[in-house]
Symmetry: C2
Subunit: 389 residues, 2 copies
């Protein structure tokens, strides 16, 4: 799916590689484009403009961050740079800074290559998008894998020797390192839009309406640089995920092409895999529900991914949150073995539909021994939550 | 989960094994119970009565059906009987009659035990619950496995020698067999209810309302003996599946216990596994939609179960049907490798919610390379269907 400029040209689309937009002039309907090779700049006119500038990795403001051996991971290219470093420099001790999706996936990848790994995160848990109890299951797996987990420790400084990283200092300890991977999340790359006077919204993401129009005429925004609407909180949210960006792209494309499409919004679905552990979440976590001032009940159940007697049945833990009184489903989290993660889609669709947990109990979900117990674990969790609301 | 009478007794529930209900007398509120050991019969009174008599396998009215070597499969017990026959008689040639879930699963099991298998079905396809195009994918897998598939051939007679089955005669051929497995489906076991004057409904299943009350005061019915309500056709349907029976049981139990619960209905979800092939369906198939007189569009797409570059990505075919004009989702079918089947739950929940295919496109479904391409195959199929309605 990585297409060349030639492939686009065949469809009548001109792709200019090596050209960077330096500024926007919405009043005149033009953009200032620099040819990186010739270094020449030129204003080019537009009728409709799509901003799809993506996100940029969060860089810590810590001395020595630009030393050799310290890497961010934000693109295929940055992954290849780390791979080459592993091959040529054979690092032995790595520190991963940040316990989110990227940090955890990198920790696993490095351990599997024989590098010893310390992971530090200033939060008291890994995966801030999970509740503390569910995140603890993930932390156990990391520890079992051999990761030296240092939670509740903020990054303080890097110790550099001869221009290379030699150690990472947290506010609680010092960890020798000949490789550091930063997984501190991303922020929307919206500087170009901001400088042109285009309204920004939550966390600096470009403010858009349901058609992905900005507040400036003729300018649209899609992907990691733009806001999304959260269907459960009914508020804008910044989500930097490939799924959302792809769906944004379809909607913006239809609209720019003169059609009509809207992006209904997100419910906060995300999944990942750490070793054999599948991890999934959707909707609101406890912290988010508290933030809205809602009263809720949470149920956590343990079950199996398949019929108990079927080979390969693995443990699965499902957590479901529902609003007190109404019973409205608010969110869910799943941690378990093979076959766990994609079950989150049941709760994601139920959130889109605004279902109650009582309605989730009686969903006509699929069952056969290789795929599920006769009561799907998600329905079991909903059943328990329904007793508490 | 197989509980003993003692386990029930501890909870204050008396379980009488070896007792059979011979007749119902709803007017007097009593049942005639026979003790199978002593052969004594006794009328026992009830306030509330639950009929959970299940289903009985469909038996063909064909000469010789009761010969040795001919088996139905309807319970754990009947499976054990076949297993013992395989161990003691070492059959070499089996004929499976019926190409539904049970027939296909038995064909696979027998082939894996080294028995050669011929499967006959009077329909021109296997799995009548799938559309012809999707069923063809399943048939290919059976043929690859070595099953001699004889479709469009009705069962005519059994050839018996010395009280044992020797061959199966269809209306097109004769197949030697020292083992015959019947997989002709089930019918509701509703004779007791019928004889007591309780109203029966579709296919002879006991007629019930949303609380699973029969039309006779004080009598309830649940499981394979009772009707369900189909949320897409808005009509009663007979579904003999463990999931539905379990959900019936919960609702009937709450109501019998003096509480209040309703069974919202089914959307027609079912899954199975044939070799490595996962097969799933929900909602209405083309034949059912035609039967309702609705106009519809069907889209079939091929994708992968995981990101294309991720190890273990398997082919998956998804079919989605939607009503012309409204775009209302009507049904879906999935055939593919590991990770395919449970995706049907996305469409099942969407059917419960009455979603359109346009709404399915933008569902916030989970994505990570080990679990899905960035556009879930189900969303891709919905996207194609949305173009056609």
């Amino acid at each position: 799916m990585i297409r060349t400029p030639e492939a686009f040209r065949e469809k009548g689309i001109e792709v200019k590689v090596g050209h960077k937009v330096m500024a926007l002039d919405p009043a005149a309907g033009r953009v200032l484009v620099r040819d990186r090779e010739s270094r020449q700049e030129k204003w080019e006119p537009y009728d409709q403009l799509l901003l799809a500038t993506g996100a940029v990795p969060f860089c810590p403001e810590v001395p020595g961050s630009d030393a050799a051996g310290i890497f961010g991971v934000s693109s295929l290219q940055s992954g290849m740079v780390i791979q080459r470093f592993l091959e040529t420099e054979s690092p032995r001790q790595a520190v991963v800074v940040g316990g989110g999706y990227i940090g955890l996936e990198m920790a696993e990848a490095l351990i599997r290559r024989g590098v010893s790994v310390t992971l530090i995160d200033k939060a008291p848990q890994v995966m801030a998008t999970l509740d503390t109890d569910m995140a603890a299951l993930v932390a156990n797996t990391l520890t079992d894998l051999g990761v030296n987990l240092r939670l509740g420790e903020g990054l303080k400084e890097f110790i550099i020797r001869d221009g290379r990283v030699a150690a990472v200092v947290s506010d609680a300890g010092e960890y020798p390192a000949d490789l550091v991977v930063l997984g501190l999340g991303v922020r929307p790359n919206s500087a170009l839009a901001r400088d042109a006077g285009i309204s920004l919204g939550v966390k600096g993401a470009i403010k858009v309406n349901g058609r992905l129009q900005t507040e400036t005429a003729g300018i649209w925004a899609a992907g990691d640089c733009a806001e999304s609407f959260h269907l459960v909180t009914r508020k804008p949210i910044f989500v930097a995920l490939g799924t959302v960006a792809n769906r944004h792209g379809r909607v913006a494309g239809v609209n720019l092409g003169g059609g009509y499409a809207t992006f209904p919004g997100v419910v906060g679905t995300a999944v990942t895999k750490i070793c054999k552990l599948e991890v999934a979440r959707t909707g609101l976590q406890e912290r988010e529900i508290d933030g809205l001032g809602l009263e809720y009940a949470a149920a956590v159940i343990k079950s199996r991914t398949r019929a108990g007697y079927y080979p390969g049945a693995a443990p699965i833990t499902v957590k479901v949150m529902a609003e007190k009184g109404s019973g409205r489903l608010l969110g869910g989290q799943i941690v378990g073995g093979e076959g766990s993660a994609k079950r989150i889609d049941i709760l994601a669709v139920a959130l889109h539909a605004g279902m109650t947990v009582a309605e989730v109990i009686d969903l006509d979900l699929s069952y056969a021994p290789p795929f599920s117990p006769v009561w799907d674990p998600v329905a079991v969790a909903a059943r328990e939550a329904a007793k508490l609301v």
